[in-house]
Each structure stands twice: as C-alpha cells, then as structure tokens.
C-alpha cells in the first residue's frame, strides 16, 4: 500500500526568511501523524504546500499518490483541510456553515450524516446559533465537521487545538482517535507537546527543519543521558546553583520540578540523583529530593532544539 504523503526536500522561502529548509518525510495511510513545534517553525507553510495552496521553491510532495503542484484539482476534491483559526463564517449559523461546505463539494449534510454523526451530534443542539457566538471548543468541532463532510481521504488539520481550553482539546483528540480507527489518514500540527503522545508518529518542527521523526516514545528516548527530576527546596536557588555547575548539561524548570541532565557519560541514574541532592545540600539548599525519570517529548524537544535563537543543540 503506497504512502499517504511523501515529501522530498521541500524548500520554501519568503523574501529573506526561510520557511522550509529541505524537509523530507513519509506518512503512511491510516496514520495519525503530528507535526509538533512552536509558532514560526514552518508548520503552516508545510500544511499549505500539502493542501496545494502554495508551490514549493524546491523539492516535491505527493499526497495520496498525486503531485501537489501538477495534480492540484484532483487533490482538492479529496483533501479535508482545516486552516488555523478555524475557517468559519461568523454570521452564518452552525447548520448554514456545514450546509455551505457540503454544497461546495457537491453533497449534503443528510447524505453524509452517518460520517459526521459522532461530532455533529454534539453540535446539533446549537444548530441555529451563529458560528461567531460559539465557544472555542464548539468552533473547533464545527470546523472539523466542515472538513469531514465531503468524506475526504486525508485530513490536514493546522493547529486545530490552539487557543482552546484543556477540556475541549482532550475531547477533540478523542474524536481524532475515533476517526483514525475508521481508517482515515490524519495529519495534525500543534504547539502543545503533550498532544504528541496521542499520535502514532510525530515530527518535531523548528525553524523550517525537522528535528526528529519517530513514534513519540522513540523520540523521547533520544535523550541519551539519564534525566533526573529535582523537587522541593528553594526552586529558584536550586536552578541558579545547578546551572553554575560545570558538569551540568542542562537544567530547566518542568512543572513542579527541575529537570537535570549531566554532561558526564556513563553515570548511573541513581548516582546522578544522589549527587545532585548532595550538592544542593552542601550549598545550603535543603529539603530537595531527586529521582530519575523517563523523558517526555518536551524534554527531547528541548534537548534537540538547542538555543531558541540560533546556536545548534549541545549533542
């Protein structure tokens, strides 16, 4: 079975800024694939190229076996695209928005009801409400419905969870899981690292380049040093202190604790933890504790990212 998306060395420049810098990847049919990364990294540019809205300056991309530049019209029939900020008409009602997008693809809500039912059922009580008056979570669901209503073979969702509250975000990912179970290929972009775990595979995007492409757990395991979580004590002082040590590779706040990695090779995680606590106590930071933990996607991102403004990561 051929892949759903194949991209080779995609390059896109905007004046002097490089939007995409030679990006290559493959997405398999039926996968739930996530592009994870902060704003300005190139996610939207990439999505627009895949959706046939932009032409790359170099490189090629094929979606569902068709070239995004040469076979534009064939693709536009079968792609379900949800641009960032939800393309919805605020002065039209929920039903009118959906009906419109259905008609654009030559179908009707009634014909596709079964397809969109799991999502639409949640919207139905608000059928006549103006889209502009919906909450963020509801808008999100409506936009998803509009993208699905014509039974696309692939979904391209550009930052569908940005700016939406935590509850709606979870519900949205539940919906995506259901859709994927039905065999639909879904490509999502998001700046929220924790959402990465809900994808089959992820690609970390930063400044027009892909830092890693793999399953979430594999990406997390990219950190080849023990990771220790330090909690308790005066966090600020602990942070300053650990940062000043020569053997520290990285230390940063992470939720309630600090995440610390040591630059020295071959150390056992428990030893690292013990040493950290001892060092803190010696410098007057008492009440701290440390334990080794498994890294998350976010830890991997930070390690792979390097400096946010330019210098490459310390490998």
């Amino acid at each position: 079975m051929s892949s759903a998306v194949v991209a080779e060395d995609l390059v896109k420049r905007f004046d002097t800024v490089v939007g995409l810098d030679g990006v290559s990847f493959t997405i398999e049919t039926g996968e739930l694939f996530g592009f994870i990364g902060p704003d300005g990294g190139g996610k939207t540019t990439l999505f627009r190229i895949l959706a046939t809205l932009l032409v790359p300056d170099a490189g090629r991309a094929r979606v569902l076996g068709r070239d995004v530049v040469g076979e534009m019209w064939a693709l536009r029939r079968v792609i379900g695209y949800m641009p960032g900020r939800f393309a919805l008409y605020p002065d039209l009602s929920v039903e009118e928005n959906l009906r419109f997008f259905a008609s654009v693809f030559g179908t009707t809500i009634e014909a596709q009801y079964q397809q969109i039912a799991p999502i639409y059922r949640q919207l139905e009580p608000f059928r006549t409400r103006r889209a502009g008056a919906l909450s963020g979570g509801m808008k999100q669901k409506l936009a998803l419905c509009c993208a699905l209503v014509h039974r696309p073979e692939i979904l391209l969702l550009d930052e569908p969870t940005t700016g939406v509250d935590a509850v709606s975000r979870r519900e949205f990912w539940d919906l995506l899981g259901t859709l994927r179970a039905g065999g639909l290929t879904i490509v999502v972009s998001t700046p929220y690292m924790d959402e990465a775990d809900r994808c089959d595979r992820v690609a970390l995007v930063q400044r027009g380049a892909l830092l890693a492409i793999d399953t979430p757990s594999a990406v997390a395991r990219r950190i080849d040093r023990p990771l220790v979580a330090v909690s308790g004590g005066d966090r600020y002082r602990a942070l300053q202190l650990l940062r000043s040590l020569p053997q520290t590779r990285s230390v940063y706040p992470f939720g309630e604790s600090l995440h610390y990695t040591d630059a020295r090779e071959g150390m056992r995680p428990d030893d690292v933890a013990r040493e950290v606590v001892a060092r803190l106590e010696a410098e007057g930071v008492s009440g701290a504790s440390a334990q080794p933990i498994d890294p998350t996607i976010e830890d991997a991102f930070i390690a792979l990212m390097g400096s946010p403004d330019g210098a490459p990561a310390a490998a």
Partner: protein, 247 residues
C-alpha cells in the same frame, strides 16, 4: 510579615443577568507567584480587569499594592505593571522607543529609562535589539522584551495575561525564569495561563469555574488532595461539569 500585595474580598461583577465574577476572595503575598487559572469564559479576564482598575466591580472590594481599586484607581495603575498576549509592544517602534513610551507613561525621566532599559537588555542578553524594530524580532524575544517593559517602572505587582502563547518550550522556560527572578526581587506576580503545566511553576494557584474560585492552594497540595498526577487532570475534573462556556 508584610501586608499582602493583593487583597480581594467578595469581589463580584455582573453584566445584566449574567454574573461573570461571583464573590471571589483571596490574598496574594508580596513576592508570590500566583497562578490564576480557568477556562475561557470562567471569569478570569473580568477579574483581572477589576484588579487593574479597568472595570468597576459590582460589589465587593479589592486592594492592590495597598490601594483600593475603586477609590484609588489611578494610584493602583501607577503601581502595577501589565502585559498580555495580545498586546505587548508596538511592532513598528524600536525597542528603545517602546521603552521610552512605557517609562514616560509612568513618569520616569529619559535618562533613568535608558539606564534601566540597558540593564534589562544586558540581563536578557539582547543588547543588540535596542535599536531594532520590534516587529522584526522573533516571537520569543518579543515576549521577553514585553515582560521587561512591564517591569521597567519597577512596579510592586505585575499582572500577566496569558503571556506565553505559541512559543517554543525553551523560550517559555526562560520567560518563567524571568518571572522567578522578579518575584525573588520582591515583585508580586499574578499570571493567567491556560498551559496547565505552567501552573506548576507557581507558588499557589486558583482555578475559576463559572465565576467562582473552585480550588486554591499550592499545586502540590491540590494534586495530592484530589489524587491526580497533574494540574491538567485537576482542571479537567473541575471544568467538565461546568455550565458556562460549554457552547
């Protein structure tokens, strides 16, 4: 033990038949980092507007930096700093021009503004941004500079409204380190955010649901009491049955 920086008692705000903020009560100590959480529509923004003197309460009272928000509104405004995600700095002015503008608004003299600005830029490692047009800078720089600008007049209380939208994890952490540093220096920081993991960085947090404060306390204590692993889980549990903002 000095007086609390923020004192709120039964603060309420109604809009017609809708109660946006419903008798909230809390204190924030000086030098504390307080996280003000809640879903969209839960009342956070309205509450912040009242505390910053932008909106009159319908009833109840609040004092910020020792001044009553209703009776001494202008005094309050002169003692606080404010930064939000939507507006921070003017995109078509340089960093220095922005600093001059902000400082001037608070009555600082040009010379003093320059000194403070340079000190801050040095600490951030962004000296070379002084003469850059803000719009041309990367998002992460802009946010850090915006925070620095809010701190320029050395306020005793700073209100940050969703300050870390969309930036990469490293920049977000650097931002939070700036917050810690400010707090360490005695500035009280009240932050609203919808990144629940950032809630964990705060000394104490409160979660608003339907205009009321549902829980308040140190993140670790709250998690332990509710038996959840993350603040995110706690939030979901509280927000799910909410009636406001569901559609």
């Amino acid at each position: 033990m000095s007086a609390p920086a923020i004192v709120v008692r039964d603060l309420t705000r109604v809009f017609g038949a809708f109660t946006a903020v419903d008798h909230i009560t809390f204190d924030v100590a000086q030098g504390e980092v307080f996280g003000f959480l809640g879903a969209n529509g839960a009342g956070k923004t309205t509450a912040i507007r009242m505390l910053t003197g932008l909106l009159q309460p319908s009833s109840g009272s609040a004092s910020v930096a020792g001044h009553d928000v209703v009776r001494e509104t202008e005094r309050v405004k002169s003692r606080i700093g404010y930064m939000s995600q939507r507006f921070a700095l003017y995109d078509d002015l340089t960093v220095r021009e922005n600093a001059q503008l902000y400082g001037g608004l608070y009555g600082l003299r040009r010379g003093e503004i320059d000194i403070r600005m340079r000190r801050m830029l040095e600490r951030l490692g962004l000296e070379r941004a002084e003469r850059s047009i803000v719009g041309s800078l990367p998002l992460g720089w802009k946010q850090k500079l915006a925070f620095a600008a809010a701190l320029l007049p050395e306020p005793s209380v700073v209100f940050l409204d969703e300050p870390t939208g969309g930036v990469d994890p490293i920049t977000r952490r650097q931002f939070w380190e700036m917050i810690y540093e400010a707090a360490h220096g005695g500035t009280t920081v009240l932050v609203t955010t919808h990144y629940m993991d950032e809630a964990e960085y705060c000394d104490r947090i409160s979660i608003m649901v339907d205009g009321r404060i549902a829980v308040m306390g140190a993140p670790s204590a709250l998690k332990r009491e509710a038996g959840v692993a993350t603040i995110d889980d706690l939030f979901v549990r509280l927000a799910r049955p909410a009636t406001a903002g569901t559609a």
